[in-house]
Symmetry: C2
Amino acid sequence: MAAVRRTLDGRWHTLRDEIRSREDFAELRVDPATGVEAYRAAVWDMLGRLAADGHAVHGFPTAVGGRGDIGGSVVSFEMLAFADLSLQVKSGVQWGLFGGAIQALGNPEQHARWLPAVMDLTLPGCFAMTETGHGSDVQSVHTTATYDPDTREFVVDTPTESARKDYIGNAARDGRMAAVFVQLYSKGERHGVHAVLVPLRDDDGNVLPGVEITDDGHKEGLNGVDNGRLAFHGVRVPRENLLDRHGSVAEDGTYSSSIESENRRFFTMLGALVRGRVSVSGSAVGAASLAQTIAVRYGEARRQFAAPGGDEEITVLDYLAHQRKLLPGLARTYALRFAQNELVEMLHDIQTTREAGGDVDEKRQRELESRAAGTKALTTWHATATIQACREACGGQGYLSENRLGQLRADTDVFTTFEGDNTVLLQLVAKGLISGYADDFGNLDTLGTVRFVADQVLDTVAERTSLRQLAERLRAVGPGGEDDVRERSWQVKLLDDREEHTLDGLVRRLRPARDKGISAERQFAIFNSAQDHLLRAARAHLDGLVLDAFVRGIDTCVDPSARALLEKVCDLYALSLIEEDKGWFLEHGRISAARSKAITAEVNRLCLELRPHARALVDAFGIPEEWIGAPIATGAEQRRQDEARAHAASLV
Amino acid sequence: MAAVRRTLDGRWHTLRDEIRSREDFAELRVDPATGVEAYRAAVWDMLGRLAADGHAVHGFPTAVGGRGDIGGSVVSFEMLAFADLSLQVKSGVQWGLFGGAIQALGNPEQHARWLPAVMDLTLPGCFAMTETGHGSDVQSVHTTATYDPDTREFVVDTPTESARKDYIGNAARDGRMAAVFVQLYSKGERHGVHAVLVPLRDDDGNVLPGVEITDDGHKEGLNGVDNGRLAFHGVRVPRENLLDRHGSVAEDGTYSSSIESENRRFFTMLGALVRGRVSVSGSAVGAASLAQTIAVRYGEARRQFAAPGGDEEITVLDYLAHQRKLLPGLARTYALRFAQNELVEMLHDIQTTREAGGDVDEKRQRELESRAAGTKALTTWHATATIQACREACGGQGYLSENRLGQLRADTDVFTTFEGDNTVLLQLVAKGLISGYADDFGNLDTLGTVRFVADQVLDTVAERTSLRQLAERLRAVGPGGEDDVRERSWQVKLLDDREEHTLDGLVRRLRPARDKGISAERQFAIFNSAQDHLLRAARAHLDGLVLDAFVRGIDTCVDPSARALLEKVCDLYALSLIEEDKGWFLEHGRISAARSKAITAEVNRLCLELRPHARALVDAFGIPEEWIGAPIATGAEQRRQDEARAHAASLV
């Protein structure tokens, strides 16, 4: 099924093949029994190998020796999920977050000064945004940088324990410098959140005066990453260390920025950092693919319980219950793969245009941010759920670290709450839907939670997904018989209706919060009582985006039999999605009881039909044999089953 | 809320308080950063402390120095979930499984000979049932023990790699002996599965000749337990090592048993070992309680995002989305606590009667087994889901090992697939429902999967839950106005209807499999296509049992305000359960669309109403302060928030 793989690989297929051919890739993995310090050391060494091999260069500007391939940087990051997730996250901290912050927020001189050392790892660094007291609400960070015109320095301070930078990768062991997100003060005035480069350790690795580093210690997973806490006590850095693309301080302390509104400046800055979220999302899809590759291969080798009238045991993947555990999840990974591919293309096109000095429509940038937030929420929750299902589907074998599933689960668990807590991200998506991209930008003051009800123009319901267009296109193509639940146009219409209805209802529920003279408490109560509705609206919207991407992805496939298979996978995705929320569709009269039962029957039928293709479908993820690692997926179980059956035969 | 706690504590409340007062309990926990070997050593030492303190004696017969308190042994095991889960599982292997096998399957002489050394840990042992090739299908184990009348010994052999005993706790490091489950052969005949005690290591810890032990290595969790693989090559053990309560071999090799049918003998033996399943179930409830204690306390301390019109940040547990994440799960833990209490009582009463030489109705024994299987499936899946939700609700803090949630998740993850895979256990429950307890016992030949469709009497639908009786009782008490979704009688009737309808439908779907002359392939196809229906029927039945237990549990509470609170928690449990499956209730015309929406609204309202009691509800689990351990739950977060607010105030 080379054609399926090619379709899944998308625009960066050549790069994917290039990375697949890395001969030493299977060595880039650490035995999970390794203790924390040894694990960190091993990951540090492997990171050096990646740096030496030029793995870091993809996304950086050509002016400083990079390849200028932003999409490629996300794809090459994603493929590290097949190696070791600690290595992947560590590389993401160094090149994606630390390097990315300098790239996105620094000026060309700053690029030239620091990025080469970032790429070749002579300057290991941290991305110090999150504080103990403030995770997803970055705008509220409490660390300060106060400009001192006498010495032309910034003085960086951590006023309270809550204001410590926390969970910072590279902090506990290796980092020499950090991009620290601070409230910037000059001439007694606050200018909002900015990033300042602060040296942490000298060349010998000694922590510098005024810097306080503590270790976050052992974690549920990712123990090869040296997360730690940073506090600063009157640490002075030169004026030139302010990453000043969006705001600078003159020698005399005068603040200037091309963006007047502090809010707008903040969100422009955050928007420039969107690549981190896109990368985590890709990693989640990669990890899910690997887990499913292992579980499906095992499910094809493993036999359990004899069939009636014989001693032959049944292959576990032949049981409907086992198919139900694995195949709808597999279909969803396909769907999210296509959604992720579109997201990466969008990121690449927008940021490449901007780096080349071109103009990017602000609406399109907002769309990218919303899509990145939403896709990341879907992919990371999916990874958590499906890796868990894979672990259970492999029983005790799945619990052994040698078979990777447990560690994949533990390593990816934090994805749902870092780079933005998923629940907060969904609210951001919903907020975008309600307020419309055309609204006064200044209203995006917190990440879509409480305050927004106070000042939104709730009447403007923005464009939704392209589902509506897709529905129309599909209608134009064929008669769209609605009798068949596999009719794509019917599935699309159903999801489109749900999105529209959910959003309309949400706007109606929130509108009273805009009444004049309403108290703050009452506003909060109105918002809060609709919060589950808000989250539902965001999900309905995102489900539409994903289905749309799946359909578009299939359109890029020219091989007829591969297309036919992908259509079936898409049916399983769409129908299991509808089945999951059948309560809503029934409640709102969108489907009849008979139709609802037909959907469940069809999901079962699709599981049965796709069963013979399960192995081909996971093979199409294109994970090279020697990377898979797990013995149960690479011959051990099959060999044991063969031996046991030969032995049984010898006794007869 | 001492009254709530007393109600939750149930019949063994005195023992619970006794264990709570253990002063050194908080020391019984290992730093998760500890490497595998050091972790194992630490757990071994702690197990010795437990043994020295008499922790082991509860469940063993008074004749050998035990307390003869079977329920107490389960409860004391459960409470170790608050300490270290590796320690808990290790203690379960030693006293529950190894000691339990000798107790349940051995004769009084064998008890006297071995149990004292089991209790005081001078004889560390293993429970070697599972094989690499056979997990839940124990009846198919391939290890053999062949009687040699010349030497009056059994010769134990592992014919293939699949037949290795696998995941065996105490095997890799500490075990000196194992209760090995084998196919017993004598005089050329097979007599089915029996357990034989096989020495593994000598007094110096050297592995004995013919015994092959390999290490299962690092695992996702429970790394303080030394799981390993055992293979036997012509290992000879004396005739007296056969645990022969249900089948013995005379010196000349003549086999005899009081139970003629091999099937029946097998299931009688398995039934005697039901305590393991009950214990795992209790541990899952304990772990869920601990996770919720941590997450709710953190949710009460943590603040994030400012409210409209002020700088005061909102306590995260005040957000509906956060309540939705935690409170329905908390209500379910309450429900499962009551179900678990009933299960332990049932186990205690039945096994105490039997140990005293009394007669136990076979139907009641089957009920116990079915209930243990089903409750274990519900509680362990619940633990996985709710600990995950707690981790996410605590964000990055939840990912740090010091806050315990990550390790709780990883340690308990295997619960869903050990002591019987949950999916297989649900099939066992469904099978019991269909076949009726009165059926020919010989039909229970495999754990309710494939073969059973071939030979079941599908017309007999057995008694279901006591839900029907509860419904009638509630109707007798009050008018049962069905307008109010909080009306218990309405909730009960709804669940009862679902159970009846699902079961009837299942029987209808399976009946064609009994047609004469039907092929084996067709039989399998019929069974397989209804497998999801089968699992649904089991769940519907179990949900009824749990609600029934909750209602009965509330009845034991005499304090009026505690009762009122428990009623609300029960409402949240019942309504969130119904909401979760609203698709089914709508599809089958059991609720109207308007009623369905009212249920969702009511779940939200209950979250709001219970919010002020959240802390009291987790405190009622009665986990002593110093056992909780997690800094975020024991003051650190509160202190930081106070400091941050004081600092902010000082700036104004």
